[in-house]
Amino acid sequence: MSKSTKQQIEDITSSEYQYGFTTKIKEERIPNGLNEEIIKTISAIKNEPDWLLEWRLKAYNRWLKMSEPNWSNLKYPKIDFQDLCYYSAPKQKKKLNSLDEVDPELIKTYNKLGIPLNEQKMLSGVAVDAVFDSVSVATTFKETLKKAGVIFCSFSEAVQNHPDLIKKYLGTVVPISDNYYAALNSAVFSDGSFVYIPKGTKCPMELSTYFRINAANTGQFERTLIIADEGAYVSYLEGCTAPMRDENQLHAAVVELVTLDNAEIKYSTVQNWYPGDKDGKGGIYNFVTKRGLCKGYKSKISWTQIETGSALTWKYPSCVLKGDNSIGEFYSVALSNNFQQADTGTKMIHIGNNTKSTIISKGISAGNGQQTYRGEVKVMKNAINARNRSECDSILIGSKSGAHTFPYLDIRNASAKIEHEATTSKIGEEQLFYCNQRGIDTEDAIALIINGFCKSVFKKLPMEFAVEAQKLMEVSLEGSVG
């Protein structure tokens, strides 16, 4: 009979990540290792105020007393934290003259992902023409934002120009002692983004577009802080569907979000970091702490994430629902192929009255990929009328992948209403056969079925990224015959 569907599925899912690329960036480096001197050096290079240096040192001393978490389902060799370099300033990349000089495989991926030509140039370091000069575009964006009173700048700039805001909010959502990686980040963070949306202001643009242009320089220990003041709204997109490679294997970012009364932050992530080769070698280890504090009445924080990259992902974007009537949401699609491992999920902590949270998690495991979903819903003693709805679905492709779901419920108030649904299914042979019978080949059928499976999450992404995310899923599952 014909080549079996099972064999085809295995061929498709064992494809290599053929699109990774390295750009040689000259770096200004400081010696490897971690100690108080190194931290003082970092702080001095960045010309930081004393209080921030104190804060870093405090974090460092806490970190020394902590140990690396070992409760996750992830397996990886021990990281030698003294053998890492904690500061390197990215220098200008060597400019290429045209896209012809870029790896054609990479261009192919860009095209498959539908990334516009000008952005392709940005991402691959080609000098751009005057019409789409990144500096001038950035300037236009900055002016629009400035008129609206929005502050959007690098974290280092914010430390210089808006120290009061930083001092007021830094570490209020993710305290320095929160976890091992957060403590490390607090001690050595290099840079990141800062956003402040003033009272009653709807941010006039998706902060994504601007961000994407600069996305090529992601640091190893990023720090992001976003504050939406009363009645403010912002939608922020981090990451990029284009494949990202980084020499730093370990990434430990911290993202803190704060919403005051009636404010809303919508934070979307599309992450496609190098997952390692077919055998799992060389991929990025991504240990991220993301948390939002719904501080004000009726405030809302919504996390949407599409994760297809990294060798290891350890990530639990969470919401602390402190304000009465506040709302937390988590929508996630995570795909692990080949030897990728993902341990992700969310925490919803209900503190205020009438707080509401929604969790929709879609896990896809292919090849030898392993997925663990951890979701914690905690309702505090005084939180009256908390509501949570969780829906965690996993789909397995092929016979060697795995999915594990760990829901934790900690309900201390009897008025809470919690609904939890979880399913794990193999990609349906019946569904594949149905598609095949209609003339659709197995590779296209898998993409079709998986995109359908993820639809309820894709719908939450800003329009243009929903389309990209869909293509990204297809590329990530694609066979070596492109």
């Binding site: 009979m1 080549k3 056969f433 149905y434 095949n436 019978q437 003339g439 079925i449």
Partner: protein, 245 residues
């Protein structure tokens, strides 16, 4: 069009079909009747190339070539279509997107350009109307939450859009009310011509009043035990299968 020769097949070593022989010429309409679990759907699935079934011996010749080595999608490209007894749902996959992908896959196999999205929408809505489904169906997910009758109608819509040559209709009438049987039968009849052949699997005579078959076969224990014309179906309905055993 189709020659099934001494076909013995099943799952693993177990035979479900035993030595089936069947000849179907272009333009003919054949009916297969038989008790539950006798292997009718299995025959349909094997013709369509489902890979968890094994052909132990015999051959299937379609348009003068053995198709045993063709994958299900390749068979679909060659014009084989099966309307499923139990169509599976594909949540989140939009009906129109699904069918356009299918139509374009088949066009591609024939080196034809993709159909214009606008043209396809028109065509799809036209067929929905013909088979009596509301145009809102273009916004739903494939078979997801469809009633039994809606699923069967949607199978026929797919047949009309994919324009196959050999059509296997597996209990298309089960789950349809009397009016729906008439509407669906009219759709099938309008689609019939001298180049298309049909195999209809059914338990009931009623649909045959509309579809006027050329041959009726009775299948028992995985083999065809009796063949005849339309009168055989009438006789079966009166006397039951015991009469043949």
């Amino acid at each position: 069009m189709l020659k099934i020769k001494n076909l013995t097949a099943g799952i693993d070593d177990k035979n479900i079909l035993n030595n089936i022989n069947l000849n179907i010429n272009s333009g003919e309409f054949h009916v297969i009747m038989g008790t539950n679990g006798t292997g009718k759907s299995t025959l349909g699935h094997i013709l369509a190339g489902k890979d968890n079934y094994n052909v132990h011996s015999g051959d299937i010749i379609y348009k003068d070539k053995s198709i045993l080595d063709l994958s299900p999608d390749e068979r679909a490209h060659e014009g084989i279509f099966m309307s499923f007894q139990y169509p599976v749902s594909i949540p989140g996959v939009n009906t129109m997107h699904f069918l356009r992908t299918a139509v374009n896959s088949i066009r591609k196999s024939k080196n034809l350009d993709e159909i214009e999205p606008g043209d396809f929408i028109k065509l799809f809505k036209e067929k929905l109307e013909l088979i009596g489904l509301k145009s809102e169906f273009s916004k739903r997910s494939v078979n997801d939450g469809f009633s039994g009758g809606e699923k069967k109608r949607f199978e026929i819509i797919q047949m009309l859009l994919l324009n196959p040559d050999l059509i296997i209709l597996d209990e298309t009438d089960s789950g349809l009310d009397i009016d729906a049987i008439r509407i669906v039968s009219n759709g099938i009849n309008a689609f019939r011509n001298k180049n298309k052949s049909f195999i209809l699997i059914t338990h009931y005579n009623r649909i045959l009043n509309y579809l006027k078959p050329d041959f009726v076969h009775v299948m028992l224990n995985g083999t065809i035990v009796k063949s005849g014309g339309k009168e055989l179906a009438v006789e079966l309905e009166e006397k039951g299968y015991e009469w043949i055993k």
